[in-house]
């Protein structure tokens, strides 16, 4: 166990001193915070537009009222979560790739494996360091997000909101660790510089961007500008009744989306943060009942990535793939 | 054309505060196999890079094959062939495709015929359709020599040509270098660490120490000038230690 801790500690020191990685993390933090600031600015514009509309109504002597736009502060995190989903996972791939490639490039793998280490010590050390790094980074990021919500968005956060933020952060940590470990495994299994990275990028492209995009494209309501049912002037209750006749198609579409772990991450976090209207202002029990399968799939992805990274990071496999 | 294939005058190269070459003046007569010796960081690769027009000197001049490296770089490039240390080539291309590319870049007429001639000269035929990713170090060096002589240069620069080769590879390369010099009349300028090879291959040597040329003479004269030293290696160490005659 000591050897695993020594390896993990070395890795964290190394990463902390890597300027490129620090720049990537700062960049990710700026993107996420910026998205919250932009959402807050957007919301203020909507409020201003509403006030302007009400003033115009009053000036025209109308007695009609319009419902004020409702502020659900956690919904402002939609952009930030989507950045973590897309760009965060891209950086996680970069991190997982570099953690192995640098050892191969420097020739330090031979130095490490010439020591009496346990079979999985090297890989476990790396996994531990990645897990710690993402836990600390995402926790820090969510603290900054919360501060931004409070300061920029003037958000009235309640006690339950902090718990929801914590649950979203936990899902994010698992999701990003999974991507780093997948990239780490692919780097361990490939000989040439860049091969592992491109393989991981192709996987990222398919899982994060292409599959969700196919799912969106297959959604009938997304096919018509403004939405199919809106264009046909069909209300929500009738929409559900009509769609009940197309369960086969919807199930296929859902299955396609479910092959992407990104979609599971998105569904779970959107539910806990109330970004998806069906779960907004609902109890945690209700949300768990609706999304536990998403959380479990994400967990399964994480466990698989840990297993693959451990197996790929053994001396026998990794040294065979040194250029 | 001058009697010298290469001549430099007060050639200097600075990298910031570091002086890589210090007013180096050197002449290599036409038809020589010149071996430049020196410790790591002495400036051997820097001088080859300058003479092959890959690097501009901070000051000083050099003439290669009768052309000034500063004012007639393209004429110099037509005159020279160059094999860098540890060259890799395009691994996904075959030997034939690699050589065709470099022949056409050098403006060789009838490149296919010329590649055949060069491979024949190097006793390297039969590998043209083999991808270079599968080549051994020795085969790569022969391919390196082939690309360097495709355009029939009069001066050939070899940077550590024996680096990483096995004894058979070293012997084969020695044979090729001597043939290039005696049969094709090329002047050869090589950097090397293998002093035993210098004795067997070169006709003259120069010793570079911290950017300064501290010794230059023919191999025969050098061996004769140090009768108390057993080998060129001992002579080199003796001179390097600052005990010049």
């Amino acid at each position: 166990m000591t050897e695993v801790l020594v390896l993990a500690r070395k890795e964290l020191t190394d990463l902390r001193r890597n300027r490129f990685m620090v720049v990537l993390f700062v960049f990710l933090a700026i993107a996420v915070v910026l998205s919250v600031v932009v959402a807050a600015a957007d919301f203020r514009l909507k409020i201003a537009g509403y006030n302007h509309y009400v003033d115009a109504l009053t000036a025209a002597g109308s007695a009609a009222t319009a419902p004020a736009p409702q502020l659900f502060p956690l919904q402002m995190l939609r952009g930030g979560i989507e950045y973590l989903e897309i760009i965060g996972s891209l950086f996680a791939v970069v991190l997982g790739y570099s953690i192995i490639t640098k050892e191969k490039g420097r020739g330090t793998l031979q130095l490490i494996f010439s020591r009496p280490l346990g079979r999985y010590a090297f890989a476990t050390g790396k996994i531990l360091s990645l897990a710690l790094l993402w836990t600390v980074t995402v926790t820090g990021l969510f603290l900054v997000i919360t501060a931004t919500l409070l300061l920029v968005g003037n958000a009235p956060l309640q006690g339950g909101d902090y718990l929801r933020l914590g649950l979203a952060a936990a899902h994010t940590i698992g999701y990003l660790i999974m991507w780093s470990l997948l990239a780490m495994a692919l780097s361990s299994l490939t000989r040439r510089t860049g091969t592992g990275l491109i393989l991981a990028l192709v996987l990222w492209l398919i899982v994060v961007l292409i599959i969700p995009q196919i799912g969106d494209t297959m959604d009938p309501d997304n096919q018509i500008p403004g939405g199919l049912f809106a264009s046909l002037q069909v209300d929500k209750s009738h929409e559900q009744a009509v769609m009940a006749h197309f369960t086969g198609y919807e199930t296929t579409r859902d299955l396609i989306e479910q092959t992407s772990v990104t979609k599971h991450y998105e569904r779970a976090t959107f539910a806990y943060l109330g970004i998806k209207n069906d779960y907004n202002q609902k109890s945690l029990g209700f949300i768990w009942a609706g999304t536990f399968n998403n959380t479990l799939w994400l967990l399964a992805g994480l466990i698989t990535s840990i297993g693959v990274a451990r197996l790929a990071g053994t001396q026998k496999i990794i040294l065979r793939k040194v250029p | 054309m001058s009697d010298y294939a290469i001549s430099t005058t007060a050639l200097t190269k600075r990298y910031g505060a570091k002086q890589a070459l210090n007013e180096l003046t050197l002449s290599v007569p036409v038809g020589e196999i010149f071996g430049l010796l020196g410790h790591n960081g002495a400036g051997k690769t820097t001088i080859v890079n300058i003479l092959t027009t890959l690097l501009e000197p901070s000051s000083g001049t050099a003439v290669v094959g009768g052309h000034d490296i500063g004012t007639a770089a393209n004429q110099v490039r037509r005159t020279i062939g160059y094999l860098p240390e540890n060259v890799q080539f395009y691994d996904n291309l075959t030997l034939g495709e690699n050589l065709m590319f470099f022949a056409r870049l050098s403006g060789v007429h009838q490149p296919g015929r010329r590649i055949g001639e060069v491979l024949g000269f190097l006793d390297f035929t039969g590998h043209e359709s083999q991808r270079m990713g599968t080549f051994s170090k020795g085969m790569r060096q022969r391919a390196g020599i082939a690309q360097a002589i495709l355009h029939e240069p009069s001066v050939l620069f070899l940077d550590e040509p024996t680096s990483g080769l096995d004894p058979q590879g070293v012997a084969k390369l020695r044979e090729i270098i001597i043939d290039l010099n005696t049969e094709l009349g090329m002047t050869i300028f090589m950097n090397t660490h293998l002093l035993a090879e210098v004795t067997k291959t070169c006709t003259s040597i120069g010793i570079l120490s911290s950017g300064t040329l501290i010794y230059q003479d023919s191999v025969a004269a050098t061996l004769a000038s140090f009768p108390d030293q057993d080998s060129l290696e001992d002579i080199y160490l003796h001179i390097e230690a600052g005990q010049r005659p």
Partner: protein
């Protein structure tokens, strides 16, 4: 550099790019998605028509089937997003590989010790890659027209075919600056790893972050093939939109593409978008050809 050398470098570049196995993987994903996009669109149309018939039979609407107004070009709209996502990444990867190849194999010294000017050599390499991308997109256009024809059940009209061809010409212009970006990264990066990573980070900023500042669009909605409109005509977003829109080259590409493909959601003119994309392409190509000899010879740190 004379014509013979110029063509030698172009042919060499084509040969090397075709032989690289990794870009081939991205290439397969790209061509596969182009081929699949028409069928995904067709499946969506079938479901929409089915939903419409159901709504009609239940007497919930009297409106005509909104899909009837759509032209066959509707089935090509998803390819826009595949160009932005996969095409641009492919362009970056082949660009990086092109210049990285010479630096890693140290063949730069072999080339520069010949009578070759760096600008001409890099220009010829870029031309070779541009030809590669052109051939790839020409093949994709044929596949796309073929797949759309199969889906609609008849051969596309000349006008529709010409619009799809025009869209792929635009795609070529859009991919060119990413090829150049990749080449620049391969030339300037201090390590092979950062050569691949830096342009990918730049791409992610251009596609996912800059549009947010100008439109308040959520990142995932940027996967929509039609550009997001500015959030408001005045105030914060009108200011940021003016500032970042010229750099949101992905959104500009989506906007012009939607107009070319007669997307019902598209509005406005092409001129601004076309000029922006062309300006990026020219700037990228110039930056590549202006690279100095010393830079081409720089060694890596890893």
């Amino acid at each position: 550099m004379n014509l013979n050398r110029w063509t030698a470098v172009i042919l060499h570049e084509l040969l090397c790019t075709v032989r690289e196995r990794l870009p081939q993987l991205l290439l397969a994903v790209f061509v596969g998605m182009i081929a699949a996009s028409a069928f995904i669109g067709s499946s969506a149309r079938t479901s929409v028509t089915g939903v419409y018939r159901e709504v009609l039979s239940q007497g919930l609407t009297t409106a005509p089937n909104p899909f009837d107004a759509f032209s066959p070009l509707y089935y090509a709209r998803n390819t826009v997003i595949y160009i932005v996502l996969i095409g641009a990444l492919l362009a970056i990867v082949i660009g990086v590989h092109s210049t990285l190849r010479d630096r890693l194999a140290k063949t730069t010294d072999l080339i520069l010790s010949r009578e070759v000017r760096p600008a001409s050599y890099l220009g010829a390499k870029l031309t070779g890659l541009a030809v590669f991308v052109l051939l790839l997109l020409a093949a994709s256009a044929v596949i796309n027209i073929g797949c759309v024809s199969v889906v609609v059940g008849h051969v596309l009209s000349f006008g529709d075919g010409a619009r799809i061809a025009g869209f792929y010409e635009l795609a070529w212009l859009f991919m060119l600056p990413f090829v150049a970006l990749g080449m620049l990264a391969g030339l300037y990066a201090s390590s092979a790893t950062s050569a691949l990573l830096i342009p990918i980070v730049v791409w992610s900023v251009m596609i996912f972050i800059l549009p947010l500042l100008g439109t308040a669009a959520h990142p995932v909605s940027l996967l929509n093939p039609v550009a997001s409109p500015p959030a408001a005509e005045a105030g914060f977003f009108s200011f940021t939109s003016g500032l970042v829109a010229p750099f949101s080259v992905g959104e500009q590409f989506k906007h012009v593409s939607a107009l070319i493909l007669s997307d019902p959601q598209a509005a406005g003119t092409m001129t601004g978008g076309l000029l922006t994309i062309a300006a990026f392409a020219v700037a990228g190509c110039l930056a590549v050809t202006m690279t100095r000899r010393e830079r081409m010879r720089c060694e890596f740190h890893d």
